[in-house]
């Protein structure tokens, strides 16, 4: 039980920042789920849209990455 209140604030803040990544998880799941729903309705069009799905995943993931970045900054830079 050592350390100071700043250290504690850092850890709590980093942990709270990581909850933002849950939003990215919801977003990625939504993208892939809708892709699969569409692919099952029209399987012949699915192959051409795989790249689009990955781009959508990447953009949805980007916003979760920012909360990860905030956590990293709190842990190592502040």
């Amino acid at each position: 039980m050592e350390g100071d209140i700043v250290e504690m604030g850092k850890f709590i803040g980093a942990g709270m920042a990581c909850t933002g990544m849950g939003g990215a998880a919801v977003g990625v799941g939504h993208v892939v789920g809708n892709y699969i729903a569409g692919a099952l309705r029209n399987p012949s069009a699915a192959a051409g849209q795989t790249a689009t799905m990955f781009i959508g995943i990447a953009f949805a993931e980007a916003l979760g990455i920012f909360s990860f970045l905030v956590a990293l900054l709190l842990m190592f830079a502040v």
Partner: protein, 282 residues
Amino acid sequence: MADQATETAKAKPKSVLGLAIFALVALLFVVGLVTDSPLEGLQIHPMDQFIVTPLFGGEHINFYTPTNVTLWMALSVLGIIALLVLGTRGRAIVPSRIQSIAELMYGFVYKMVEDVAGKDGLKYFPYIMTLFVFILFANFLGLLPMAFTTTSHIAVTALMAMAVFITVTIIGVVKNGFTFLELFWIKAAPLALRPLLALIEVISYFVRPVSHSIRLAGNMMAGHAVIKVFAGFAGVMGIGAIAPVLAITAVYALEILVSFIQAYVFAILTCVYLKDALHPAH
């Protein structure tokens, strides 16, 4: 039908052998992670595997010092040369196994550039192929036991992402001149909304290298740290650690998938940015 049944029966020992080899590699990975730790005892520090150390002793690191990062980068470049240069040396019409892997990889990236960036993006195909193959090899070599994952460092990925960002911006400005700014001025939106959208577009444009680099580094770092945390459980439990080893095997399989997907995503985002630079008008 009978043919198929005999075939699956024949394939079974093979797949069991493959699974055994896979589990062995995962186990070696764990052993490597546990013994890699410079600290005595079974204290597990999941981030220790990312420490950059000079290869030939010493403490001070200059830009010319050979470190484990440079070693593994050189190894991935050597692997690429072995696959793409030496593998396609025969130029056989009926390709050998290595040659067909190289051809598959080339065709995969070529089709991706053509689909996403368009026909005029093919001029920049060598750059995207280089990025893809380098990241793929760095990710996969990082999965070997006792290896060092170079792409888990933000310094490495940020350099590649900044290179992509600067290249794409220069291409866009040189090709389109002033009309490049139409990328931020969305004509499809109502006029009253356009300034607000322009602000958002400018922010999202300049945030690109950040998300581009941290996506790759974060994914690689997080996966390896998870494996090492499970390795810590295995180290504490000792010889009867079946559950952690199974968990590590599963995470390791996931990591193989992630290694490929992150290289693919990095390359495909480069294609998307390139397409934006070549055709800025929405």
